[in-house]
């Protein structure tokens, strides 16, 4: 079945099962591999993207949920890596292996869109579902605060 998706501002027509997880539509059909497969059960956050600005776990989200909505992936957060979070991530050298970092940034972006100056507790609560096996949590929190200017 052909469905129409708006991904990072561009309309894409894709021939997929509407129940196919959005993660695989984005990675295997649209060709945007920045969104990662971690657990496949919404437990790790590596697959986090935005639908209409809200962070969602694309590994458990059927493609049909995104029809007529705006999808943003890590590739679309900014055109040139200039989003305040991306700049802070670079300046503080947050990633180690980097696999999970796209998901962290997308969750943090959804947080900052709603809370311009989040507290430590708010940052921790929002990112509680994003796992980093390299243990970069301290730098992640510092980068979110840097991006928020707090």
């Amino acid at each position: 079945m052909t469905i129409r998706l708006r991904v990072n501002g561009e309309t894409k027509e894709v021939d997929v099962d509407p129940e196919m997880p959005l993660l695989w539509v984005l990675r295997d059909v649209v060709g945007l591999a920045g969104t990662k497969y971690g657990c496949g059960e919404a437990l790790c956050g590596a697959c986090t993207i935005h639908i209409d600005g809200e962070a969602i776990r694309s590994c458990v989200t059927p493609a049909r949920r995104a029809i007529d909505h705006d999808i943003t992936t890590i590739e679309g957060l900014s055109k040139d890596g200039s989003h305040p979070l991306q700049r802070a991530w670079v300046e503080l050298a947050v990633p180690q292996c980097g696999f999970c970092q796209g998901g962290h940034i997308m969750t943090a972006a959804a947080l900052l869109a709603k809370r311009r100056k989040p507290t430590d507790e708010e940052i921790d609560a929002s990112l509680a579902g994003n796992l980093c096996r390299c243990g970069t949590y301290v730098r992640i929190r510092a980068a979110v605060k840097k991006a928020a200017g707090v």
Partner: protein, 216 residues
């Protein structure tokens, strides 16, 4: 007549007299079969209306305190999961509107239907019950009181409560929980009928026994 015979006769007379004036044993409502709820008519054997009402609520509370329902009626900020009321994984919190926090909303993971492969439960408008509707760490009496209190039941009338239990789609998810999750006893319609019968008999609450039914 010997003394022994006379004493025996007195005993028999006393026994018959006492038996005739003894209080009849309380009516017995049969226990429901495992996985089932009793129908409201099963409580008709209880002649006292208030007592019947309390018994109806107690039967309905078997649904309220079931993990499929009580997991999302926490007394704190975090829901629980599974039959043992374990901490929700990932460790989400209720947020300002009981729907999670920015970046980690309930709907970030929970879809409008159960996710078969990932086993994530789902239904429309997935969210936590407000804090004032907590069922965890509460006695059956406390839950009964809060359900009939408009300030703590979403400003619902008692009829609206029965309708909510009988027809709300998120309530109904409990009986189609997906994966290997066991549903509460009975059906949604039967649970609604019990609540309707409870309200029709005066919405009486079971006495306070101090026993917290669900203690994660």
């Amino acid at each position: 007549m010997t003394i022994v015979k006379r004493f025996t006769i007195v005993l028999i007379v006393c026994f018959l007299a006492c038996g005739a004036s003894a209080v009849a044993p309380p009516p017995r409502v049969p226990l429901a079969e495992p996985g089932h709820l009793l129908q409201p008519s099963a409580f008709d054997v209880i002649p006292d209306r208030a007592e019947r009402s309390r018994a109806l609520f107690a039967e309905a509370s078997r649904v309220f305190f079931n993990p499929r329902c009580a997991n999302c009626h926490p007394s704190g900020d975090a829901p629980t999961q599974r039959d043992g009321f374990e901490r929700h994984d990932p460790p989400v919190v209720r947020g300002d509107r009981d729907q999670g926090v920015p970046g980690l909303m309930c709907a970030s993971c929970h879809q409008d239907t159960n996710s078969t492969l990932a086993r994530v439960p789902g239904a429309p408008k997935w969210q936590l019950a407000p804090r004032e509707m907590a069922w965890q760490n509460r006695t059956i009496h406390e839950v009964c009181e809060q359900i009939r209190d408009p300030k703590r039941n979403g400003h619902r009338s008692l009829d609206a409560i029965a309708q909510h239990v009988a027809h709300d789609s998120l309530v109904g998810w409990a009986w189609i929980p997906g994966a290997d999750r066991a549903p509460p006893p009975g059906t949604q319609a039967e649970a609604g009928a019990l609540v309707a019968a409870w309200t029709a008999t005066g919405a009486e609450c079971p006495p306070e026994d101090g026993k917290k039914v669900v203690r994660p």
